[in-house]
Symmetry: C2
Subunit: 190 residues, 2 copies
DNA sequence: GAAGATTGAGTGTTCAATCTTT
DNA sequence: AAAGATTGAACACTCAATCTTC
């Protein structure tokens, strides 16, 4: 088997893994610890594996375009905002990273001159992030670059599968929001 | 509510994000740059968001059990092997990380006394990783711990969705294997 | 020269502690 | 006391270079 769809150079009939290694894991777990829901273990492994590989591929392809993925996402988040401004906390939730990560990103974007940080006069604990004119231009430039990176990553999948994955993962993310509403960061024991 | 199994209408009412923020991103992209396949952009965002959150939740829950996820996965990979041994390269492909990451993990596991690294006498470039008796015990102990972490992460999803995600992601991983066969690491220009 | 593993530098995240404002 | 943002340390990964072996 081994999906010999196209002519691969190293056509040495790969003896190992074929990703259904993970199915083996499931079978093993199910035998050793029947209490456990092995399906969710498999899903964890697949989700993390796919994400790691995606991140690696993306980083490679973006680096030749002289941009980084997080930068693209941040600028676009701001560019999409009605008035080109968002609060820092919003950006945390959007990108699903901790506030520390966002601060880090904001520092770098500010150094590059693409955003400005101002204290919210209404609630001085919050920070309002605004796209500078230069940042706005840069965002537009970035948008116009057609990066095939992610498209080619998923190109092995039929369109219907891509759509189904989208729907299912959206459901997952929505369900997570309901679950882990309370925290996100900050967990101090006084 | 929100159960938008299909097309997802404008259904405002949600004050913030609700993860269908990502659908907004799609609409925005599609308007700004129609050349781009916005569906794959959405899928990238969702895949990475879900993975990041999963990783964070898992780390938290595992830390109270005094173990790390990568450790569990590595020990189980070895435990599952017919003779309790695997080559380092195999472990790279299994975990979908670069060889540098595997070396790093192996160093730490060796320090803890749970594995041994030996040169393969048949091909002295390769390293054979073996579970020590202590490591084997530790793996068994770990297996017996019932960690609900991942199960609860996906608990908001109906069983059928979990299964569908599993098959779709498996297809993705298989397709990726076919694609990126040549490299994985090592990319030198002489 | 190519393949497998290792090293060290660089990157980007989480986490816990801290500061300010409410 | 709680919420939002920042800081710095710890962590774990990728990447490019290197070494050894084939």
């Amino acid at each position: 088997v081994t999906r010999a769809t196209d002519s691969m150079p190293g056509a040495e009939t790969f003896p190992v893994h074929t990703s259904d290694e993970i199915d083996d894991v499931v079978r093993f777990w199910r035998r050793e610890n029947p209490d456990l829901d092995a399906n969710t273990t498999a899903l964890r492994l697949r989700l993390l594996s796919a994400a790691r590989q995606l991140e690696r591929v993306l980083r490679r392809e973006m680096s030749v375009l002289e941009m980084e993925m997080w930068e693209l996402d941040m600028l676009l988040s701001l560019r999409r905002a009605p008035d080109g401004a968002r609060r820092a906390g919003e950006l945390c939730r959007l990108a699903r990273v901790t506030s520390g990560a966002i601060t880090n990103r904001l520092v770098r974007l500010e150094e590059r001159g693409w955003i400005r940080r101002d204290v919210d006069p209404a609630d001085r604990r919050q920070v309002i992030v605004t796209l500078t004119p230069a940042g706005s231009q840069h965002a537009d430039r970035i948008i116009s670059i057609k990066s095939d990176a992610e498209t080619s990553f998923f190109s092995g999948l039929p369109r219907s599968t891509v759509e189904r994955l989208n729907t299912d993962l959206r459901d997952l993310l929505i369900s997570l929001e309901a679950q882990s509403d309370p925290d996100q960061d900050a967990r101090a024991a006084p």
